[in-house]
């Protein structure tokens, strides 16, 4: 004899127990997932901040470059034109990276008479910079190509490969452009962009004929105006 009601109750309790266990497991999994995503987000943010700091540090160089460019321009403009260096008045712009641009306004040129009295001393003329130095901020990650390559190695996709090829082409790394263009092409041989990048990189690496051959072969199977134009550009060395 079986106590059906009793057994049924026990079975319901068992199912609840099982469900509870499953819920705990699921909750634990969810917790781990959330914690790991938060941690990864935290580390990623740190990395970006570091990258930005590096980028900002590097941004100082355009300023310096601008200033030195100004200096060079001014200096070249006032190169001695007469044979008598003593009577020559030199206008020298003293601009140092440490100085604030406002200083340019407060600094006054030395009077000509005084300069004449001090014939050996070149006249210092402070010129207002024609173009205010600008700070270009770039938030692009320094290692974005490495990141892209890592992502491509983990989850290979034609889009990633093409992006890599394109990015490497932009920074002038043509051998790597070739590599990723071929990688993309191996995934989809009909992809026009992979042929174009391959041809452009080949051309840049001095393999003009390879570039033309590749594009003509592609053009035979998939005629494209874009490819035709590129062939002409390469043939005429206009790339």
């Amino acid at each position: 004899m079986y106590e059906l009601n009793e057994l049924e109750k026990k079975w319901v309790a068992y199912k609840r127990q099982k469900l509870k266990k499953f819920t705990y497991l699921f909750a634990a999994f969810l917790l781990v997932a959330v914690v790991s995503s938060v941690l990864s987000a935290f580390f990623f943010t740190n990395k970006t901040v570091e990258a930005n700091i590096t980028a900002t540090t590097q941004q100082q160089s355009p300023l310096e470059q601008n200033i030195s460019l100004q200096k060079e321009l001014v200096l070249s403009k006032f190169e001695p034109t007469t044979q008598n260096p003593i009577t020559t008045h030199k206008e020298i712009v003293i601009v140092s990276p440490q100085e604030n641009t406002q200083n340019f306004q407060t600094m006054q040129p030395i009077k000509e008479q005084e300069v004449q009295q001090q014939t050996a001393i070149p006249q210092v003329v402070i010129q207002k910079p024609k173009v205010q130095p600008k700070i270009f901020m770039e938030t692009k990650s320094v290692n974005h190509l490495e990141y892209l390559e890592e992502r491509q190695n983990k989850n290979p996709s034609i889009d990633n490969a093409l992006t890599l090829a394109s990015e490497y082409y932009k920074v002038g790394e043509y051998a790597k452009t070739l590599k990723w263009a071929m990688n993309a092409n191996s995934q989809d041989s009909k992809n026009e962009k992979s042929w174009v990048l391959f041809a452009k990189a080949s051309y840049k690496l001095g393999r003009k004929q390879d570039a033309i051959n590749a594009l003509e072969r592609f053009n035979q199977t998939s005629p494209s105006d874009n490819v035709k134009n590129l062939i002409n550009q390469i043939k005429n060395n206009e790339l």
Partner: protein, 277 residues
Amino acid sequence: MNSTSNFASAKELFVDENRNFADSDNEYILIDGVKEAYKKLLHAVEKPLKIILLYGYPGSGKTAMLHRLCANIKREDGQKVLHYPTPTFMRLEELVRIFKTNSRKRVAAEPTFFELMELFGATFKKDTFLVFLDEAQLYDDKEMEYIRLLSDTKIFKFVVALHKIDEEHLIAKAHFQSRIWESVELNPLTIDEFRFFIERKLLSKELNQTLSMFSAKNYKLMHKFTQGNIRESMKFMYKLFDFHEFLEKEKPSELNYKEFKTKHIEMVAIDSGYINV
């Protein structure tokens, strides 16, 4: 045959087999693993070995195998087969009884073990005794030592069945290390063997309809509960059919005769103690 009798008939097939060896209808199913072990054991018995060890986890089918082997063994000329399902062999009165049954010689009153050994040696020069000892883990060290001495006389050959948990203990004993020349292991049933076992049982009574109610999921679940243990499988199947027989009478709306419900299998597992709630 209606469905009611199907569950009842199926239930009867899974009554503990060890209690039904006399029942000629109760088929000894040679599942792949069991078949291999059986052949190995049969072959070992035919060899001139002193002690053969048959081991496996409790409920793995050692007793049933010993019974079948006893019943089917091809007796050599002058060979006598003795089967001890319980540890009663190593008693002096039992040895005296064996001697008296097989010889007309007289035995002194209350002989010692060594006197009996000499008597066996002098009397049975050509005859041999093939002794099957089940539950051998229940013999104590002294009794085991006597068994070892008897095996050295070459008049006795032993087939010793014991639990695997005691295997190391037994083999570690110095007196067995050099004497066990063959050992046969019985492993738990795999899920396929379990399914085959149930199929063969049910088909032996032409319970095809009942058999068709089992799905692969059912087999998997039942195998999970019984862990491939033959004794546990028999017990579980008995309970399962018994429960369905009960449902059929008391709550027929619960049954659909197309498949065994997971719920019912789990309820049987709860009732049998496989699931603790």
